[in-house]
Symmetry: C2
Subunit: 238 residues, 2 copies
Amino acid sequence: MSLPYRDPCKACLNCDVRRKAVCSALKDDEVGELERVMSFVKLEANQILLEEGEPRRRVYSLTSGMLRLSLALPDGRRQITGFLMPGDFLGLADDDTYSQTAEAVIPSGLCSFSVRDMDQLMERFPHLKDRLHLMTRAALRQARETQMILGRLAPSEKVASFLLIMSNRAAAHGLPESPVHLPMTRTDIADYLGLTIETVSRTFTKLKTQGLIHLPDPHSVEIADKARLATVAGITLH
Amino acid sequence: MSLPYRDPCKACLNCDVRRKAVCSALKDDEVGELERVMSFVKLEANQILLEEGEPRRRVYSLTSGMLRLSLALPDGRRQITGFLMPGDFLGLADDDTYSQTAEAVIPSGLCSFSVRDMDQLMERFPHLKDRLHLMTRAALRQARETQMILGRLAPSEKVASFLLIMSNRAAAHGLPESPVHLPMTRTDIADYLGLTIETVSRTFTKLKTQGLIHLPDPHSVEIADKARLATVAGITLH
DNA sequence: CGTCCCATTGATTGCTTTCAAAACCGGTGG
DNA sequence: CCACCGGTTTTGAAAGCAATCAATGGGACG
């Protein structure tokens, strides 16, 4: 499965996501407490971290790479409920068991905590608890935005929204707004937007033909006309 | 708009949702503190309680009736993100501003609190805060289930799932599993499931023809064959 | 009894899905 | 260096199904 180990070089204080992740709730002199109970996990591309229905024993903070969260139907259909980016927390929604599956989209690194340790730390550092609650609320708002995208947007609007959202998130992580790097496959995008891979692919082609985007390669999207892309998206971005 | 007043007769201790709502986190001798800062609001059918984008000054606990939460697009399209039933809390997801609109489906009653008062009470009674966090996590799981319904289920599956979910929720509130009472209009159901009203109506008719449900009137659905309905839903219920 | 709103039913259109095939890309091995 | 192979993406053709447009039915209310 995964390879838990403690990385002595990458101290929390120098971590890339020190100011974005849960640990931003802790002061520099407090974060050592977190580090003490933490282990570090590396995942290869497509490696499963945890599965829907398993007991929730550990929670994670993503430091690098990307994860996909998904729900599956008995017949194999899949809905991706979200993509996690560095700084995002895994395990916000669950109590006793994981409610969804988490897999790596690309090689990824995570801080791992036992639920028991995390609960103890939350009692000691109320800010930590508040921060997790804040992140849960943000996740809920995001899930509802996604409900709108899934329920009421046409395919082109879905894809356009997706590109703008990914572009915004990239910017929030200090990466360029464009070109957007989409590490996931067309199947992932389809399963996220409630479409088929063919429709996703055709929509990319259409947006390209209309001059709204360029596609140097399937995983890179250069946003050529953000204003018009936003019009196509039909959704006002936060 | 709404009619805030304090109802002297309906003490919290005798409230219908005393054991289901937020206040279940408080002991009988603590709940008076909640009551002291509470006001009671009554809404008529279709009355708007609060709108997307407004500053979040108050939060609510629904005691009777039903609310719909929705997001709107500039062009008028609407996505209903959920229906609130007695005991549910309103304002879980938001920080500074409401992220969605809340309207009464039918005449409804709510306990109303200023955010400031509620924050103070949460500091005094940590269980209250924990309870709200718990409810937020449940809302997040529910939103993700809904993502699956919206993204990956066919219309009949959507409607069947909707009926089973409403039936389950009714049961959880001490009401009969069947017949299910659906106070909302076909338009509401369509905007919740990402369909048109015609498709919703046709699907009800189809399920009726197949003998899975009876429709004594448009707002009452008797589940005639729960097992087969669950098969059509294609989704395993919690 | 007439009006309004909502739900249902009908007919047609259009778009996404489905089914199928071709193109592309990186890696491997001859 | 080139041929081959698996996986992914793109493109093509056809079919199916929900959306759309339109009309009818039904219940509540004045």
